[in-house]
Structure formats: structure tokens, C-alpha cells
């Protein structure tokens, strides 16, 4: 069961499973008794079957286009974004687009190569659940989520950039 970190650094457990993309010719291996995150395009392909189900969420890989879910994001209880390597920064753009452009309101989860020093960037880009890579010290997450008390720019967490806050 994954440990899931919240933006305030608190830790909880849940049992969402990430279902990998099936190989050519194989079908999705969705567990019967656990909530599951499936590749977003496959959710769309099986839309009639999946929509409205609270135990089915989706995940995007870093090269995927979140645009495919435009208009439907809030039908999902959880959307996860995979960081295949922590240095792959595409997931930050995906996070902001899901939140700021497509208006996604439910849980946005960072999965994959999620390390401590990127948590605050993720938080600022709209992620509100983080599954830290297993070998990292989860007790340091709260500190790493809060190194900075504010940012210069607007992002998902702060709609108003510092230059406008200063002016008022």
C-alpha cells in the first residue's frame, strides 16, 4: 500500500494501484478489489465502461497530452502524472494544465521518480498527493514541501504573482 504525502506533509496510506500500459494485444489488468489508475487514453477508449466509477482513475506519462481529457477531467476521482525520471520536467506543465486550463478539482497525484527536492515544485504546479520513491525518507517531506514561504510567480497554488501582491 503506498504512503501518500499531502501538501502539508502529513502521510496517509491508500491502496490505489497503478496499472501499467498493457503490451500489444494484451488487455488491461485491473484488480478486482482495489481502486486502479489506468492509462488516460485507455480510459477514454473505454469511456462508457469507466466513466463515473469512483474506483477508476487515470495516469499520464510525461510525454502524454492532457488535452485528451479536456471537458471530462472532473469525472475522475484521481489523476496521476508519472515522472519517469525526476529530471523530466514535463509533468509540471501537465499538472498546471489540468488544474488551470481544464479546471480539474479532484486529487492530482505525482508518481514515479518522485524525490524530496522536487516536492515543492509539484505542490506549486497543482499536485496535492505525492508518492515518494520508496528509498527516500518520507519524514523529511514536510520540510522539503515548505522550504519557501512564497514564490515570485503565479502558479496553481498562487493565482496572483508577487508583482501584483507588492502593488497592493
Amino acid at each position: 500500500m503506498p504512503n501518500v504525502i499531502s501538501p502539508d506533509g502529513s502521510i496517509r496510506q491508500d491502496n490505489w494501484v497503478v496499472v501499467p500500459r498493457p503490451a500489444e494485444g494484451e488487455s488491461l489488468d485491473i484488480p478486482a478489489d482495489q481502486p486502479a489508475l489506468i492509462p488516460a487514453d485507455l480510459w477514454l477508449a473505454g469511456y462508457e465502461h469507466f466513466t463515473g466509477r469512483q474506483e477508476i482513475g487515470v495516469w499520464f506519462d510525461s510525454h502524454d497530452e492532457p488535452e485528451i481529457l479536456d471537458g471530462r477531467v472532473n469525472e475522475l476521482p484521481v489523476i496521476a502524472v508519472n515522472f519517469p525520471k525526476f529530471s523530466d520536467g514535463r509533468g509540471y506543465s501537465i499538472g498546471r494544465l489540468l488544474r488551470e486550463r481544464f479546471g480539474y478539482k479532484n486529487e492530482l497525484r505525482a508518481i514515479g521518480d518522485v524525490l524530496l527536492d522536487q516536492l515543492q515544485f509539484m505542490k506549486r504546479c497543482g499536485f496535492d498527493a505525492y508518492v515518494l520513491r520508496a528509498d527516500k525518507d518520507i519524514n523529511k517531506a514536510a520540510r522539503c514541501l515548505n522550504f519557501f514561504s512564497q514564490g515570485y510567480q503565479a502558479a496553481t497554488d498562487t493565482e496572483i504573482p508577487l508583482f501584483r501582491r507588492r502593488a497592493s
Binding site: D88, G89, D117, D137, F148, Q150, Y152, A154, I160
Partner: protein, 550 residues
């Protein structure tokens, strides 16, 4: 100059605390080498085989005297007593110890300095013309816009892990481009449209390194209030679609080329439409607030010291030469812009000792309202010197080695640290610069040759901007031997171009002779008014080839 408020100070302090924590975790083995790498790079620390190096940010090249003194102290306390001015208006230390870096950063933060985002795959220091705010032909002072970009790009949560590094430069003069904007990832040329509104012409996809390119224009006019939203759109398109599979194809120039400039521009426009009206759109008040930091110093109401200077020139030939070459016209009557050259033969271009840093600080206090600017040609500018004190200044700097009257001439070489300091080098670059400076030691001959940009890099990374030198020199490795390839016809100015390779490379001891032959061709072929670059562009590369390889 920009002064931190409580927000800037708080974030600077938080950044130091964060890096201290990260360094401790790295030293304790909690962060793997490759996990710590981008964190330390984004704090300026580059570790290489021979020595670590710390690149300290000098935002758009501006520094105060107290900051110079602090740098001097840091080089003494933590390094070997000297520093290096870089081609991106920053300062580099060559031997700091990893465990000292958090302390160095803390010392820098005390004087409102930092090393944020000076390396790594993020948005780097925004650079501009060193004559900003004091020249008469600029559209507007570009520094407030650079500061606005600095703040927007600092710790930007979406763009901390780009495919590759990202550099922005701003230029405001119509006549000249001292910031080399067309060889930056984004080059912003300030312009006014027909209605007289202020804005930017936007170049995207220039760059040097392995695949040198001049950046095409993707937007002719971007209104000033739209600056940040548009940059955000460009960066988002790059972050999402720039190549990440191959380090050598990851710069934005490759993406722009693959999509074509028109295709890239369309993608940016489409993204921009969504965020154009977001709160990131600048306001006139926000711009004015930052402009308020870049007001004129307390100039005296004085006239030009024309007669005094004429008589001083008449009596002293050295002063006359220096005035002609190293002193530029100021927008204010009675003032002048002085370039201190860091190019004395025998010292590596851009190198300064702790003592010299303090001397420069004293000169700034005494002659130029306590401020200096670093140039991408690795020199230092005192921007606000009274004309009636120029002679006194010249007398002071001559013994210090800052008065060599060779600005913009062949011996005002741009040169990377090369094999003497840099583990990536194919060849040494500093001894080549020195040999050429020795060969051309006759100032009158140099003046007769006029402006020539000679740029030297020790390898393909192009830290010395060799592609855009009128004469470019690149260190290459030939079966373990150091060789040098020459290119001709590069320019980093408004007429930007990438130099063309002359032919097979040369051994180091041949270099002064080869450069002489190239210069001889120019002297033979030039017409009255032509610069080296003009002649090259008219006659082409063949006459040079024939002479050099005869």
C-alpha cells in the same frame, strides 16, 4: 540599481537554507550523485575533474561596490584569491570546496547576491547591454525588464527541469547589439510600434555550442505588458515538446528548426491565447515600480569638458588613445562611459585578483556612484564618470592594468578558461590569446585595423563564443594533440552570423603567424571605410584560404 525588499530577502535566505540542507543530505549519502547534480548546478556549483567551479550571478551585469568587496573577500577566504568574469556577465570562482558553498552563498545573500540558476537546465541569468541607461540611442532602459524577467524566472516551479539550459538576453539600442541577443534561446529587441507603444521583437532559437544558430524572429511586436505571459508560453511549449532523448538536440533551437519558425510561433500563439489575460500579465504600475530602482543617479548639472579634454589629449598621447578607444559618449552632458579592460597581455582575459576587485570597488565609489557593470566581452564598465575627472581616472587605472586602450580591437580577445582550468577542454585557449596579443602589440597598428572581434573557445561548448567572432578560434583534439580551427565572418551584433570554417586546423605555435596572414589579406583588400567583417563579406573566404594555406 535593484534593491531587495523583504520578499526578496526572505526567499534568498530560504534558498540558502535549502541548499545547506541539500548539501548535508548529499554529504550524508542520502542524495545520489545524479540527484544532487541539478540541485547544485542550479546553485551555481559545477564539479569537474580538475576542480569545482562556482558561478555567481550578476543580474544583467550590474554590481555595487560593496558586492565587489564581498566577492574579493570570498575569493580570499574560500578560493585562491581571484575570480573570472564570464561571457554571460557573471563571475566564476575556480576552486571552492563543496562543503563551503552554503557558507559562500550565505555571504553572498548578505549583500543581495546569489548563484541561482547559473547552471543547469533552467532559465539562466538574463543579460543585456552594459551601456543600458546611459547611452542616448536606446528605446528604453532594458534593465527593469531584465529584473522583471529575473524575478519571474527565479525558482519558477514549472520550468526548473527543462530539456536544456535556457538563456534570455535583452537589447534596447537601435544601432548596436552589445548583448548578442540573436545567439540566445530568446533574444528580445526593444522596439516601438507605429503607435509609439513600447514592446519587443522576439527572436527564439539562437545559440552557440555544437549547432550554432542565429535565432529567427517569431514575433515582430510583443507589447511590454505581455512580456511574461508570452515568455511563459514559449517556455511551456519548449518544456513540453523540446527533445529530451538526446542532450545534443535538446536546446530550443532544435525544436524551432524541427517545427520551422512559423510552426513554432503558431504553437506559442495558441498557448499564449489561453494565458494572455492571466494575472501574470504585467501592469503599468508593476513596471513603474521596478523602473523606480533604475532612476538616474544624482548627476551634476555640468557642461561637456570639451576644452579641458582637448588640452589633456594634446599633452598626453596615451590618454588620447585611451579616450578614443575605451571611453564612450554618455547621454548626459559632462559625463562619459568608461570601459576598464581586463585584457592586459599576460593575464588571462577576464581574470581578476581579490585586490583588483577591491580596486574596482574603490574606483566605482570614487568615480561612478558606486556601481559597475560586467560586459560579455569580459571587461568592466564605469558608466557615469565626470569628463573633468577622466584624466585622473586614467592615471589611477593605468598602473592597475585596466587602462590598455584596446577596447574592441583584435587584442580585446574573448577567451574561455580552456585547458588551463577546464576539464572539458580539447586545448588550451589562454596561451593562444596571449601569443596573439604579443604578436599585435603595436597599438597604432591595432587602431588602423579597427574593430575586430577575436573569440577563442577551448572546445565545442563555445564558452568563448568563437562562432560569432569575426575571427573565431576553436580548440580541437587531433590524436591527442592540441590543434586550433579557425572560422571567419561571425558576428554577434544586429547583423548576427555564424562564422565559416577556414580549413584544416593549426598547431598552437603557428597561430600568431596564421592570424597575421588573415589580417594581411584584410589590409590588402580593404577599401577606405571597410571593417574586417565588411571586407570579409565582400571578398568571401577564398582569398583568406589562399594566403593561409599557400
Amino acid at each position: 540599481m535593484y534593491v531587495y525588499d523583504e520578499h526578496d530577502r526572505q526567499m534568498a535566505a530560504e534558498r540558502v537554507a535549502q541548499f545547506r540542507d541539500q548539501t548535508e543530505r548529499a554529504l550524508a549519502g542520502e542524495l545520489a550523485e545524479d540527484e544532487f547534480l541539478p540541485l547544485r548546478l542550479q546553485n551555481g556549483l559545477y564539479v569537474q575533474r580538475l576542480a569545482p567551479m562556482l558561478r555567481i550571478c550578476v543580474p544583467y551585469g550590474m554590481m555595487r561596490s560593496d558586492q565587489l568587496r564581498r566577492l574579493a573577500r570570498i575569493t580570499r577566504d574560500y578560493d585562491k584569491g581571484y575570480a573570472h568574469f564570464t561571457t554571460r556577465q557573471n563571475v566564476q570562482l575556480n576552486w571552492p570546496a563543496l562543503e563551503d558553498v552554503p557558507d559562500i552563498l550565505a555571504e553572498l545573500a548578505e549583500v543581495e547576491m546569489h548563484a541561482n540558476q547559473t547552471s543547469g537546465n533552467c532559465i539562466r541569468n538574463t543579460t543585456t547591454d552594459q551601456f543600458s541607461g546611459v547611452q542616448s540611442d536606446e528605446i528604453a532602459d532594458p534593465r527593469p525588464y531584465c529584473e522583471i524577467i529575473r524575478q519571474w524566472s527565479t525558482f519558477h516551479p514549472e520550468f526548473a527541469f527543462l530539456p536544456r539550459k535556457f538563456k534570455v538576453a535583452v537589447n534596447a539600442s537601435e544601432q548596436t547589439d552589445r548583448a548578442a541577443i540573436q545567439v540566445h534561446d530568446i533574444g528580445l529587441q526593444m522596439v516601438r510600434n507605429e503607435a509609439g507603444d513600447l514592446g519587443f521583437r522576439v527572436h527564439v532559437g539562437g545559440g552557440l555550442g555544437r549547432t550554432p544558430m542565429v535565432g529567427p524572429v517569431i514575433r515582430d511586436f510583443l507589447p511590454e505588458l505581455d512580456l511574461l505571459t508570452y515568455l511563459e508560453a514559449v517556455l511551456r511549449v519548449y518544456n513540453r515538446y523540446g527533445r529530451r532523448d538526446n542532450k545534443f538536440k535538446a536546446r530550443i533551437k532544435i525544436l524551432v528548426k524541427a517545427l520551422t519558425p512559423e510552426g513554432f510561433a503558431e504553437k506559442v500563439e495558441a498557448e499564449w491565447q489561453h494565458i494572455k489575460e492571466s494575472p501574470t500579465r504585467l501592469t503599468p504600475e508593476a513596471i513603474q515600480r521596478i523602473q523606480g530602482y533604475f532612476t538616474e543617479p544624482d548627476y551634476a548639472a555640468i557642461d561637456n569638458a570639451t576644452d579641458l579634454l582637448a588640452s589633456q589629449r594634446f599633452e598626453n598621447r596615451g590618454f588620447d588613445q585611451w579616450l578614443t578607444h575605451n571611453v564612450d559618449t554618455h547621454k548626459k552632458a559632462g559625463y562619459a562611459i568608461v570601459s576598464l579592460t581586463m585584457k592586459k597581455t599576460g593575464t588571462p582575459p577576464g581574470d581578476v585578483s581579490d585586490k583588483q576587485l577591491e580596486q574596482i570597488a574603490d574606483l566605482a565609489d570614487e568615480f561612478s556612484f558606486g556601481e559597475i557593470r560586467v560586459t560579455h566581452q569580459q571587461n568592466v564598465v564605469l558608466a557615469d564618470v565626470r569628463q573633468d575627472r577622466l584624466f585622473e581616472l586614467w592615471q589611477a587605472i593605468t598602473p592597475m592594468g585596466f587602462g590598455t586602450a584596446n577596447l574592441n580591437t583584435l587584442t580585446d580577445v574573448i577567451c574561455c578558461p580552456g585547458g588551463d582550468y577546464c576539464a572539458l577542454a580539447n586545448a588550451k585557449s589562454i596561451p593562444v590569446a596571449e601569443a596573439i596579443q604579443r604578436q599585435f602589440d603595436d597599438l597604432d597598428y591595432l587602431y588602423d585595423l579597427g574593430n575586430i572581434d577575436l573569440n577563442i573557445s577551448g572546445c565545442m561548448n563555445a564558452c568563448g563564443h568563437h562562432h560569432v567572432g569575426n575571427i573565431g578560434v576553436l580548440g580541437v583534439d587531433k590524436k591527442g594533440q592540441e590543434f586550433y580551427q579557425i572560422s571567419l565572418g561571425g558576428s554577434s551584433h544586429h547583423d548576427a552570423s555564424i562564422g565559416k570554417i577556414l580549413g584544416p586546423s593549426f598547431a598552437r605555435d603557428e597561430m600568431p603567424k596564421v592570424i597575421s596572414k588573415i589580417i594581411d589579406v584584410y589590409v590588402d583588400k580593404r577599401t577606405e571605410e571597410e571593417t574586417f567583417l565588411d571586407t570579409y563579406r565582400r571578398v568571401g573566404i577564398d582569398p583568406f584560404k589562399e594566403r593561409v594555406y599557400a
